[in-house]
Structure formats: C-alpha cells, structure tokens
Amino acid sequence: MKPIPKISVFAFILFAAWISTASVWKADGFKVIDFDEFESITKTPSEKIRMFNFWATWCAPCVKEMPDFEKVNAQDPEVELMFISLDDGNKTQRVQEFIQKRGIKAPVFLLDDVDYNKWIDKVSSNWSGAIPATLFISADGTRFFHEGELNEKQLKYLIKKIKQGHNEK
C-alpha cells in the first residue's frame, strides 16, 4: 500500500476535529450546550492555554472575578478564555442580558446539565462542585484545575506556572 503522506494525515485530523466541533464554534457570543459538547470543545486542539471559567449570574464571587479574567485574556495572546455558565437552562435570557449589560467579550456557553454528579469528576476529580472554578488546558493537553476565586495577580501567576510546566517537558 502506498504510504499516506504525513501532511495529509495531519490535514485529515484537523478536518475531523473541525467537523466534530464546527457546530459549536459557529455560534458567536452565546450557546447552550450539553456535557458532550463541552467535552468536545475541551478536546479541540489549540495552540493556546485555554481557560474554562465556571460561573453563574447569581454567583457574586464569580461575577467579581470575570473582569480580571477578561483583562488577562485581552493582554496575553497565549491564552484563550471561555465562560461556562451554570445558570438555569430554561432562563437563557438572564445570561444573555448579563453578557450585554456587562459587555462580556469572551464566548459564553451555558452548560445545561443538572445531573452534576455524572460529570463533575470528568472535568476534574479535584473539583468539589463549588463555583467559581476554572479549568486550564495547555496546548499539549495538560490540565490544571482551580476551585475558588482568582484575582488578576493570582491568575497571571497561575498562567505563568502553567507555561513553565509546559516548557519543562
């Protein structure tokens, strides 16, 4: 059999990854997703450190840390921020109004699956379930999880540590 050129294998993988997530990425700004869709987003290859910040409109410490996340996301081209809302999936209007009112720039996905025990451990076994919480995934797929609030300084420090961890490999 004729060997398949490496480049076409690579292109195929990229294409397959694009096909599997295209429906998710087409939406800009806001989309309601289930846990499978969330997982496929996390598995999409990226050259950046992706930050998935779990929050809800009613969660005061979550709302408080959002501007710091947006600021760091705007300053650092090596990171990519996505907000994962855990608000009520039947009340999406509340989240959309929040996005508009606060001028949220990063994409917001409302993860609509209240059967939490089925999926919290899949995000991280270190997550008790409290929010805010943030999942970081570096370009090589390494995951780091933080439960609790972060301010700008703490977030930058964490990102620095994740970048160092990546370079050491």
């Binding site: 025990n117 919290i120 379930g129 780091f144 933080h146 609790g148």
Partner: protein, 199 residues
Amino acid sequence: MLGCFLWIGISFSTQAQEKGYSVGDKASDFELKNVDGKMVSLSGLKDAKGAIVIFSCNTCPYVVAYEDRMIALHQKYESLGYPLIAINPNDDKVSPKDSFENMQKRAKDKNFPFAYVHDKKQEVIKSYGGSRTPHVFLLRKEDNDYVVKYIGAIDNNHQDASSVTEKYLENALDAVLSGNEVALKTTKAIGCTIKWTKP
C-alpha cells in the same frame, strides 16, 4: 493525555478543600447556636440514631432550591432517629445576608422544623471538610461515635424535585436504617463556595 494533570503546589482561598472527613471517619461533635437561641450538639439529640448534617446558608440559590426538600427530609426521618441539622458556615462580613439575624428571619419565613445553627468560627466546616453549600454529611451513631456514612448532594436535580431520578441522600438513609451498606457513598454537585473569614 487528558488524564495527565499538572500539579502546582499553590492554592488560593481553598482552605479545607483537601482535608475533612471521608466516609467511615468519626465526626466530631459540635455545640452551635440555633436560631431559637439554644445550643445544639450531636450528643444533645434525644433518641437520635444519627443525624443529617447539611452545610447550608441563606443566600445560595442551590440551597434555596432544596429548602422544601430539606423540610420534608426532616419530617420523614426525624421520627426514625435521623433529624436534620442545617449549619451556616458563612462569614457575615463577607456575606451580610448570611448573618445570624437573617438566619432567624429565613427560618421563620420558611418555618424550618429543623435546627439551623451558625458555625461562626468556621471550626465545624473545617473539621468536616465542607466545601460548598449545600453539602450533606450523613452520620450514624455507633456507641458514642458519629460515623460518616454518606457525603455529597441531596439528589440529582436541584432545579425540579419532580424530575429527580436519584435520591442520593434518601437512598443512603434507607440503607443505613435497614442496616445495609450505602451503595453510593459520595456524590458531587454544583454549589456555592463557603464564604471564608478573611484573615
């Protein structure tokens, strides 16, 4: 690849997260002030075979969603020896709506039949290892000890009680009451962070 976790030896504001009880551990007793002004302790529970301890508060929407179910649980299981004790561990400087006065107001408004006590010093939440509200610890009295039998969520649908398909806590209670092993000993759920006292 995805299972590969990067460990960084830092943690901010996540006290008590790694500590606390596991199922099988002996839980320590406490003495905390109830909304009626009286002190409540595990050893002070009359004719109890155990207790349903739930870290709770006034402000968390997940707690609010469960209040009616907490009332029903207490009404069903108190007479079977398992009263419910709700413990508010939140600092009222960080979260003023979780003050003792507001606890009294909430207990009155909802006519709580169970004890609703304040863990002002946050010692109980730290020793138990509660990390969110609501967070359930089911205890069974064995001689003079209170052994942890179940840790986690009340059930698998906070939004809609009628859509619940797994009653984690009730299943655990029924197992303990009938002398059986609890099948599902720990569960997780989304909840609100504990409002820790700022140093």
